[in-house]
């Protein structure tokens, strides 16, 4: 009870409700523009939005689809947010999640015979560690040589995708038309929340990590130090905080959360590591994080929004025959408008002008 109260308090304190309202207005504007688009090309808006809703929240199954799309985005968004909070732009989530995924797959195959209560967490943990190691590299490079993390992480993404493929092909491959590892045992697969149900407990893991991230950033000394470095490296130095150590740590933590994005996908739906499996979760993670202004709790909401659009877009494409790319357009617009507090202020400006009285 107390915990819940504290949580509510934290949410209230952290993100003012007005900014949530802003975001809602922004989403509505983006949807309206999307509707204009739909009409302009001769589609039926009502049908489109009906399916968009139906496919995202219309039924328990739709909801499960939304959450399924949401889960990796939460991890990816958190990973990016942790970087930003610490003054680092981690574009490398994509690469980190590939290593997380491969490591989980490889270890998951080894520990599949263990009891689930041990095997599952171990497999997840290994993914986090692998992602963390891949995050360590740009962190170390930045701390020791000043190499800009934007460049190094972009490069490391490519290296990770090629590297995981190389490892799979040469060491872990099973026969099949795709380069992939063997299928994981059920003990290391993330089970549904209710046995036999549609909703995967991946979302629960994600929510736990959201909580942990929030806790780390706002309730721990380490989080304090990370944010100090992110905000003002000079003040950090002054306060006796080792910036270079924090830079490395931030990248490692960010990388491990990214690694979990990969782990949960392969331990969930895919059931094995498949080369080139990610459609760019890491990059969408950037959008999620910035949309959420790097607030972990808002990351959850932003990821949910993206997940819902993805899931709804699928049904919209299937049953209203509107190309899926409309979803991209709407997503882009949502991001643009949510990012732009000034636009909504502009809508209300006329009123305030009048109130302020004449200006000479």
């Amino acid at each position: 009870m107390k915990l819940l109260k504290k949580l509510i308090e934290a949410i209230k304190a952290f993100e003012s409700w007005s900014s949530l309202l802003y975001s809602l207005v922004a989403i509505i504007i983006a949807l309206i523009l999307g509707a204009v688009f739909i009409i302009a090309f001769g589609y039926d808006v009502r049908v489109a939005f009906f399916h968009l809703y139906n496919g995202s929240f219309g039924s328990l199954y739709s909801l499960s689809q939304t959450l399924f799309q949401t889960t990796p985005l939460i991890f990816a968004g958190l990973a990016v947010a942790i970087g930003f909070k610490s003054g680092l732009f981690n574009i490398g989530v994509e690469g980190q999640l590939y290593w997380g995924a491969l490591a989980s797959a490889v270890v998951g195959l080894r520990v599949g015979s263990w009891p689930m209560a041990i095997a599952l967490p171990v497999t997840l943990l290994v993914g986090a560690i692998a992602g963390g190691i891949w995050g360590f590299i740009p962190g170390l490079l930045k701390a020791k040589t000043g190499a800009h993390e934007v460049i190094t992480t972009i490069m490391l993404n490519e290296i990770a995708i090629l590297g995981t493929t190389f490892m799979t092909v040469n060491y872990f491959k099973v026969a099949g038309p795709v380069d992939q590892t063997a299928r994981l045992a059920e003990t290391v697969r993330i089970p549904p929340i209710v046995p036999g149900g549609d909703i995967s407990s991946g979302i629960i893991i994600a929510i736990i990590i959201v909580g942990l991230t929030y806790f780390l950033l706002n309730k721990t000394s380490l989080g304090y130090d990370l944010q100090t470095v992110g905000n003002s490296p000079k003040a950090a130095e002054y306060g006796g905080i080792k910036s270079s150590r924090m830079t490395i740590l931030a990248m490692v933590i960010s990388g491990s959360v990214a690694g979990l994005a990969g782990s949960t996908i392969i331990m969930g739906r895919l059931g094995r590591f498949v080369t080139n499996f990610s459609p760019g979760y890491g990059f969408t993670g950037i959008a999620v994080a910035v949309l959420a202004r790097n607030n972990p709790i808002a990351v959850l909401l932003a990821a949910l929004l993206f997940g819902a659009l993805e899931a709804g877009g699928m049904t919209m494409q299937l049953f209203a025959r509107i190309p899926n790319d409309l979803i991209g357009i709407i997503q882009g617009l949502v991001i643009l408008f949510v990012a732009a507090p000034g636009f909504i202020r502009l809508l209300t400006k006329f009123k305030t002008r009048k109130e302020a009285g004449e200006r000479t």
């Binding site: 905000n231 003002s232 950090a236 306060g239 000479t360």
Partner: protein, 506 residues
């Protein structure tokens, strides 16, 4: 004819009323001081005049004509020039580039830097403002930067100059030079609005004074008909002790000892063989013109810069190798001269800022987990105790006024139970009321037997607080004084005169 006339100016920032119905008149050719506490609304008023802010209501008259000033370029057109409280210079560009940007000299569409150099040199000769047009801003001293700021205005043929706290970062000598320049400008027929927190300066240079308090104009007086005490009363609304009294006290045991500190700095003077010691219950002042090594000394003592050689001994223990964190652990507090960047995390809440450096310590954290309740309680306590004026704990440091930012830093540093206080420029840019308060705090610490190293460019401050004063010049201690300090003498020493020579002239 009035050069500037502001009528019924109102300006608010959200809840804060920065300017309330202000009327302000400056006569042509006068030097007019604008006084007021931190946050009184001086800068805001001047930014409105210069077109950087727009007033919510009110009128502006320049040379008797009502004017709309929406952007600075319009103000520049009208002959206004502003030298900002925080320098508006681009570090990585040259002096000349900084001056001409916006009013460039071009030939066939290309920048003509050669001509620009010439023009700047002519201008600087005319008004006695020595600068090197080709030097990068980041490589020149604060005093020179100030001159560049003035040149920027003169280059734009400003007739009315607004100087917002130009002396805050200047040494007495540099201030005197600036006053010379101001008189020169006045002779040239220019009008000057001058903002400062230093009443002595106001008395010395201005013709008339206007005082703001809480966003309102308290009144305008002729300088000749007022006194520092009277002005302070107008500003603060009560009597202010302008020079604190310190009780006689015998210093205790030696706490900090430095020997042969050396630090090479290609851009500044660095440290060249510095030795001294500070005793418990003593305030040791370091006097010096900015850029003579005091910054390096400050940073080296706390471990933010590495020494080339030398020894720092604290409480009998050599601390050369210790990190900043470890040194702070030993009871060294640090009020940094670079308060905006070093002292505060500008986007952190106030209570978080108040535990910077203690975020791993009890009671604020246990095993790395922060205790928000304790942190908040502590924040409230300090706000109360140190009279930090803030709407609340969740306000970010950035949103505090300069004086209150400084109070927050001092509150944090003095509350940690330090034995040694490294206080660098503790009252820079702070209003008289706050200065009084800070000075009292430091003396209080002295009474409690703490050792204090006071690095300051304010001679008055040094003289009234210090038990001993060392003068630093080009990275060396060139003199040590104790007892009654002669202002004239100290000033000359800071300028690099040898002690012998000073004695002769004195």
């Amino acid at each position: 004819m009035n050069a500037v006339e502001l009528k019924n100016i109102n300006k608010r920032f959200g809840e804060v009323v920065a300017n309330k119905n202000i009327n302000f008149t400056v006569k042509k050719g006068e030097i007019h001081s604008l006084l007021g506490e931190n946050g009184a609304g001086k800068s805001t008023l001047m930014k409105i005049l210069f077109g950087l802010y727009s007033q919510d209501s009110g009128q502006i008259f320049i040379e008797g004509q009502q004017q709309e000033i929406n952007i600075p370029s319009e103000a520049i057109q009208l002959g206004l020039g502003m030298i900002h409280q925080h320098f508006m210079l681009v570090d990585r560009l040259s002096v000349a580039e900084n001056i001409i940007a916006g009013k460039e000299i071009a030939k066939n569409g290309f920048l003509n830097l050669k001509r620009a150099y010439q023009e700047i040199e002519e201008l600087s000769k005319k008004f006695g403002l020595k600068v090197d047009p080709g030097a990068k801003i980041e490589d020149i001293s604060v005093g020179e930067q100030q001159r560049v700021e003035i040149l920027k205005a003169l280059y734009r043929e400003a007739e009315i100059l607004i100087l917002d706290e130009p002396t805050a970062v200047l040494t007495p000598q540099e201030t005197d030079e600036l006053f010379e320049i101001m008189r020169e400008l006045k002779k040239d027929g220019k009008t000057i609005i001058f903002i400062t927190h230093k009443l002595k300066e106001t008395m010395k240079i201005s013709d008339r004074v206007t005082v703001l308090r809480d966003g309102e104009s308290v009144g305008t007086v002729d300088t000749t008909e007022t006194s520092p005490q009277a002005l302070a009363r107008m500003m603060v609304g009560r009597d202010v002790v302008l020079r604190v009294e310190k009780e006689a006290k015998v210093a205790g045991k030696e706490l900090l000892k430095v020997e042969n500190l050396k630090l090479h700095n290609p851009q500044g003077s660095g440290l060249r063989d510095i030795s001294f010691e500070v005793k418990k219950g003593e305030i040791l002042g370091i006097a010096g013109v900015e850029g003579n090594g005091q910054f390096e000394l400050e940073e080296a003592l706390i471990g933010l810069q590495k020494l080339d050689s030398g020894m720092i001994e604290y409480n009998g223990q050599e601390i050369n190798k210790l990190s900043t964190y470890q040194r702070r652990q030993l009871g060294i507090a640090h009020i940094p001269s670079d308060r905006n960047r070093r002292g505060l995390v500008s986007d952190f809440r106030l209570d978080w800022n108040l535990i910077l450096g203690s975020e791993w310590k009890k009671p604020f954290a246990r095993r790395g987990v922060l205790n928000s309740d304790k942190i908040k309680a502590y924040g409230r306590e300090l706000i109360e105790k140190f009279d930090i004026r803030t709407p609340g704990l969740s306000v970010t440091a950035r949103q505090l006024s300069g004086g209150n930012q400084q109070k927050a830093i001092i509150a944090r540093e003095l509350s940690g139970g330090p034995d040694f206080i490294l206080a660098a420029q503790p009252t820079r840019g702070v209003d008289v009321g706050a200065i009084e308060y800070i000075h009292n705090l430091l003396l209080d610490m002295r009474t409690k037997g703490k050792a204090i190293l006071l690095i300051s460019a304010e001679l008055d401050e040094l003289r009234s607080l210090s038990d001993r004063i060392l003068v630093i010049y080009e990275g060396q201690i060139i003199a040590e004084k104790s007892g009654e300090f002669d202002e004239q003498e100290l000033g000359l020493l800071m300028a690099g005169r040898k002690e012998g020579e000073v004695d002769e002239t004195a």
